[in-house]
């Protein structure tokens, strides 16, 4: 069994990789990349050469190409101290046409070209865009830039190698002076004032300041040594990882008395434990310099409500449990009294759910629930009551009840004509005994296989239900990402779905082989 499970897991990982490759081909290679500008208000304001460079920078942000400009190259040289201010000014005078460029500029342009062409870039030089009177148009300044298409294999490779991020003291660029790069272990977490006993590991030179800490939120001990990186969002939730987008709390801020490292005490929602390094941020922003003593300034804020995943999970898991509690007994009763009144009503209900478009019956539930039972029909995160969960849960549970009833009834009826049932009957067992002790146990096996999948997929959320009741859940994330062309999120969410499918299939198989010892996935013992 162990060997079999390992093979299944390896196969599962392979198929998840294949899914990611397919998705990357679909979104990066097949889709027209100019569509990203369709809803971009900045794009229409740009003109001339500025528009071209803006296009390139956006392509880079969406992950289509690698892009570098000549001016950034010179700035980089200046920052590293390779050239002085005078040379920089001279090198930036690239002229309105190549002939008019300064001597120094030509020299550095040649260096720039050589450096990037050797890496497979294409160098583009746009001459200044001039009006008829010879003046340069708005945004028409001459530019030089290098672009390179990201090949698929490289993209897939970097996606998977960057997926797990291991935090280390060399994360922060070596050229930045941040003092000694170490990990310190303390028994008294400074966030709690340095008095209270609370072990923590604090890093300097790492991305996260707190690598290990305790707090009052589930699961109470948190680590930042290894973080999951599913892909960066660009339009849906700018610059934030997909996994964090799904996991971050939502709603209004929860303010608490926070003592900042400078000693400033304030009512704030900042969670100091989540501080990450942002180079140079301390000096750039007066707000940060009043609060922090180093560049670990970026914090996540405490918010009052569940995350996207949390909302979907709460609604989904309750709906799934209700569905199993109601659906299975009803299915058994339908088969027990086959062709009876309950069976007929149940069949009618099943047909209704299968045949009527889901959109139609969810709207029906909403209309009935809102008008007859006076239940809230829209979700309000901040002023809501528990009643707002009722309709989404019912809308999710009712179709799964029908589905479970259908299959339970089918499996029970299939078992009813088996020899062992006839034998039990001839042995004088009562019908109830036969049903509860014999048929049910056999009929439940295929149902058991679906349990892990329905529990895990409760997390992903239901698109229509969440949309109709405006639940801030994870179900809409994929559609939202597609509508906004957020490639990072599309890939991340798909991978998340694929991994869930793989896990739930494996768990389902393991579960049925434990429930029913006759089922064996290994050829041994057969």
């Amino acid at each position: 069994m162990a060997k079999y499970t390992v093979i299944r897991i390896v196969k599962g990982i392979l198929s998840a990789v294949c899914v990611v490759v397919m998705i990357m081909v679909l979104v990066y290679s097949l889709m027209d990349r100019t569509v990203i500008f369709a809803g971009d208000p900045n794009y229409s304001k740009m003109q001339s050469n500025a528009r071209t460079t803006y296009e390139q920078s956006r392509y880079q942000a969406f992950g289509y190409i690698d892009y570098a400009t000549y001016s950034d190259y010179i700035k980089g040289l200046f920052a590293s101290g390779e050239i002085d201010d005078e040379t920089r000014a001279a090198a930036l005078k690239i002229g309105i046409t190549p002939e008019k460029a300064s001597e120094t500029a030509n020299e550095y342009i040649a260096k720039f070209t050589q450096m990037y062409e050797s890496q497979g870039y294409t160098i583009t030089r746009l001459d200044a865009d001039r009006k008829t009177n010879g003046k340069v148009k708005d945004g028409g300044q001459a530019v030089i830039y290098a672009t390179r298409d990201r090949p698929l294999i490289k993209r897939v490779w970097s996606y998977f190698t960057n997926m797990l991020f291991f935090d280390n003291v060399h994360y922060v660029d070596e050229s930045i002076d941040i003092g000694e790069r170490t990990l310190t272990f303390t028994l008294h977490d400074p966030v709690y004032g340095g008095e209270k006993f609370s072990p923590a590991i604090i890093g300097n030179g790492t991305l996260h300041k707190y690598l290990l800490y305790f707090d009052n939120k589930f699961p109470f001990i948190h680590q930042n040594f290894v973080t999951l990186n599913l892909g960066e969002s660009y339009t849906v939730n700018r610059g934030v990882d997909v996994f964090e987008t799904m996991n971050a709390t939502q709603g209004s801020y929860v303010k608490d008395t926070v003592e900042y490292p400078t000693g400033l005490v304030e009512e704030s929602a900042d969670d100091l434990h989540t501080a990450t390094f942002v180079a140079g941020s301390l000096d750039q922003n007066a707000m940060y310099s009043a609060r922090f003593v180093d560049d670990y300034t970026h914090t996540i804020t405490h918010k009052a409500n569940f995350s996207k995943l949390g909302f979907s999970f709460v609604i989904g898991i309750i709906a799934t449990i209700i569905a199993y509690i109601i659906g299975l007994p009803l299915g058994i009763l339908m088969s027990r009294y086959k062709d009876g009144i309950l069976d007929k009503i149940g069949t009618f209900y099943i047909i209704f759910i299968i045949a009527v478009p889901s959109l139609a019956y969810i709207f029906l539930f909403k209309a009935i629930g809102g008008a007859l039972f006076k239940l809230p029909t829209t979700f309000d995160m901040d002023n809501g009551t528990a009643a707002m969960y009722v309709l989404p849960i019912i809308s999710l549970a009712l179709p799964s009840i029908a589905n479970l009833m259908k299959w339970m009834r089918r499996y029970m009826i299939d078992q009813m004509n088996s020899d062992y049932v006839k034998f039990a009957r001839s042995g004088g067992l009562s019908e109830t005994e036969i049903f509860t002790k014999h048929i049910w146990k056999n009929a439940a096996i295929p149902i058991v296989h679906g349990i892990p999948s329905s529990l895990l997929f409760a997390m992903t959320g239901a698109i229509i239900t969440e949309r109709i009741y405006s639940v801030p859940g994870a179900g809409n994330l994929l559609t939202q990402a597609i509508n906004k062309y957020d490639n990072g999120v599309i890939v991340g969410v798909t991978l998340f779905y694929a991994v869930l499918t793989v896990i739930s299939n494996i768990l389902g198989d393991i579960l049925i082989s434990t429930v029913d010892p006759r089922i064996s996935f290994t050829s041994k013992g057969r």
């Binding site: 397919m22 679909l26 299968i354 045949a355 478009p357 994929l478 599309i490 798909t494 499918t501």
Partner: protein
């Protein structure tokens, strides 16, 4: 009587009958015609006749009504009094005609006409997609079930493609091409056949190694003949039942896609529901929203009912 017979010679008593192979092979059992029995069983139930009549009516109406009437959604665009009228208001405003019976929509168009035009598009989509997917799915599924080598490859393909969210494929395709009717057909069929093929593959696996097929193979029957003569008849009821769930599912899926904003550009039922979503909560406008919902529900329920019962009837075991 007995004495009288003796007066006759053998020639007079018996007439020779020429020997016929065809006659001697005849079995004196009642004639059995498969499809006749299917329809006999099907029409035995009253509900089936009603459902079939309703289905035929809806389909014929959806195709004939829009082609005999003129429908211009923007004819009343400039008339501010014509918008969002309830049924009685519309009948009073425009006169007592069938097309105003459900009121008017956002640009003063008759809801009744809009719904039937949408129904025609949705039904066409369902039938075309089902036809393509069923043909490809059943043929490939049969091969998939028969060949162990194909099975090994296809199972991996199935697990991989099954993980790619369907809405992603559809949205990418509708971005690649413009979201027209035929793009939608393409998007729904490009991977849609896979599920059907997998279903058929499982069914083929179940009966492939049954004794009668083994016997047939031992007697030297070709695989092709086994597939068409031994297995296909067994599968008819399965295929019909599958079709009964597939056809309505395309209509439902189209409605779903339109609702999340990834539908086609034609005003199908789904698009009508999507466009009228805001009208649902506005008092007096509900008709615009519930009419396409109701028609979509009627079409899918009737399709499902007829299909399921036809599937039951096409199972030879019910022909007793």
């Amino acid at each position: 009587m007995h004495e009288d017979l003796s007066q006759f010679t053998d020639e007079e008593l018996f007439a020779p009958i020429s020997h016929s192979d065809a006659e001697s092979e005849k079995i004196a059992a009642p004639r059995y015609s498969y499809w006749k029995s299917v329809f006999r069983v099907f029409f035995r139930k009253k509900i089936n006749i009603i459902a079939l009549a309703l289905l035929l009516f809806v389909i014929l109406f959806a195709y004939i009504y829009p082609s005999v009437t003129e429908y211009d959604p923007f004819a009343n665009l400039l008339d501010p009094n014509s918008k969002h009228l309830g049924p009685t208001q519309a009948l009073n405003y425009f006169g007592h005609e069938l097309r105003w019976i459900l009121g008017t929509g956002a640009s003063g168009e008759p809801t009744f006409d809009a719904v039937w035009n949408g129904a025609r598009i949705s039904i066409s989509l369902a039938f075309i997609c089902a036809a393509i997917n069923m043909v490809i799915g059943v043929m490939l599924g049969a091969v998939w079930g028969f060949s162990k080598k194909v099975d090994m490859v296809m199972m991996e393909v199935y697990t991989i493609i099954g993980n790619v969210p369907m809405i992603l494929i559809i949205s990418v395709l509708s971005m690649l091409f413009s979201p027209t009717f035929w793009t939608m057909v393409f998007a729904l069929t490009i991977v849609g056949w896979l599920g059907i093929a997998y279903f058929i593959r499982t069914q083929v696996l179940i009966i492939r190694d049954r004794e009668y097929n083994l016997a047939s193979r031992c007697l030297g029957t070709s695989i092709f003949k086994i597939a068409t003569k031994n297995i296909l008849p067994f599968m008819t009821s399965v295929i019909v039942t599958l079709l009964a769930t597939e056809l309505p599912s395309y209509i439902s899926y189209e409605v779903f896609l339109s609702y999340i904003g990834m539908g086609m550009s034609e005003m199908s039922l789904g698009r009508l529901i999507y466009a009228a979503e805001a009208a649902m909560v506005t008092p007096g406008w509900e008709m615009e929203f519930w009419s396409p919902v109701a028609i979509a529900a009627i079409i899918t329920v009737v399709l499902y009912l007829v299909g399921q019962n036809l599937g039951d009837a096409s199972d030879p075991r019910t022909h007793m």
